[in-house]
Amino acid sequence: MSLPIQSTEDLPLLQVSNTTKLYGGRIGCKDVSFDLYPGEVLAIVGESGSGKTTLLNCLATRLTPTSGSVNYRNRMGQMRNLYEMSEAERRMLMRTDWGFVHQHPADGLRMTVSAGANVGERLMAVGARHYGNIRDTATDWLGRVEIAEDRIDDDPRAFSGGMRQRLQIARNLVTGPRLVFMDEPTGGLDVSVQARLLDLLRGLVADLGLSVIIVTHDLAVARLLSHRILVMRHGHVIESGLTDQVLDDPQESYTQLLVSSILQP
């Protein structure tokens, strides 16, 4: 039997239902459900301890949820429950289809190998073998994240915080992922460095048509990058919707508090 031809554009890439993570008796995140579509950028906001990162880690298979399911549509168009896959399949997914940008670049980079190797390594993981091609692609990507070509052989310990973060982004995007997770990618950077990174991310996400789930406590970052937003508190999603609608007309008491707490420069 043949399947009806349908564009996967209109089908969710990720379906999250009732995802719950308990740490003993304490709630990490509880009953979180949402769909993410191709090309969509979803921001998860809330204060420290609200469960944002726990949720992100449950989605990215870095933590096993206590209950609930997370389904992902692979390149063949099949919906697969991440937690019913074998470890090998999951690792393959992390290497080919996904990226994960950590808040601290040191967690996502290999600090003792060169910038070029940091990018090239991901390419080799998906089967690239030709040294010249790998180096060319790595150079191209370093250019796209505004790292000068003559820094390709330096290791990231010699880079500034902003450069390291841009290198981490290049390392994640070089394999052409479909879904990228980001945990506070602009946290701890100076505002001018942050602006440059945001501008870069904004351009890359639009050009590559990436789906992104970004955790941030910075509502301005969420407004600039995301289409939709989930507001979390005490492990629960308390409000969700279009980013500008949630930020300009917040309905819940806690969201109103968050929005009214932003400092105007």
């Binding site: 969509e40 440059r196 501008d199 279009l242 300009d248 109103q256 009214s260």
Partner: protein, 236 residues
């Protein structure tokens, strides 16, 4: 012949109030029983004093504000979408192709040059980069934004310059429905006249517009109909 429906926007029994949780749950009524429609090529202006809810109505049509009650029906090709209960994805698509919004203030994005900001809505509709930049340049010239500013991010521009960049961004792409939130607030007479021309051109293309315009000359020049928003005042 095209059999596209003539009504582009139909607002019925719309109501909005704000609940201020940080002020002990204070309920602020804004408007209720809002009813009006806008046809192809028509410019409807919302009238009434500040605080009467004009901007809130416009923002509800753009789904920037939620509403408590009622419907906002938008004709999108051969589909009718109720903005009041559409999914975020549907709204994002509507904003790319069907509803444009010219706001009062420019939200400058760090490091993004004026020319790119203006060209972006065209590129989002699939126009090639070269053509988008060329049309953006033409429109900025028309609005008297000097070419030496085009490659600069508008954060440091004067209020009037920022607003003209914003107008260019709002008018550059074709949307069958266009919302105008005081587009002429800080413009001089020459630039106000350009905006009047731009609105006239949109009307010729059949664009349905809803506007808020405090400037009487501009309002008289472009309004086909004025709706008094005070008639929608919530009985508080």
């Amino acid at each position: 012949m095209s059999n596209t429906p003539k009504t582009k926007v139909l607002v019925s029994d719309l109501a909005k109030s704000f609940k201020m949780h940080l002020q002990g749950g204070l309920e602020i009524p804004v408007v209720s029983s809002v009813n009006f429609s806008v046809s192809v090529g028509e410019c409807v202006v919302l009238g009434g004093p500040s605080g009467s809810g004009k901007s809130s109505i416009l923002k509800m049509i753009y789904a920037n504000y939620r509403c408590q009650k009622g419907q906002i029906l938008i004709t999108d090709g051969d589909e009718i979408v109720n903005v009041a209960d559409a999914t975020p994805r549907r709204i994002i698509r509507l904003r790319e192709t069907t509803i444009g919004y010219v706001s009062q203030f420019l939200r400058a994005i760090p490091r993004v040059p004026a020319l790119t900001l203006v060209a972006e809505p065209l590129m989002a509709q699939g126009v090639a980069e070269d053509e988008a930049f060329e049309r953006a340049g033409k429109l900025l010239s028309r609005l008297n934004v000097p070419e030496r500013l085009w490659q600069l991010p508008p954060a440091t521009f004067s209020g009037g310059e920022q607003q003209r960049v914003n107008i260019a961004r709002g008018f550059i792409a074709h949307y069958p429905i266009l919302l105008l939130d005081e587009p002429t607030a800080s413009l001089d007479a020459a630039n106000r006249a350009v905006v009047v021309e731009l609105v006239e051109e949109k009307k010729q293309q059949g664009v349905a517009m809803v506007g808020i315009l405090h400037d009487h000359d501009v309002r008289d020049a472009i309004a086909d109909r004025i709706i008094d928003v005070t008639s929608f005042a919530s009985a508080a």
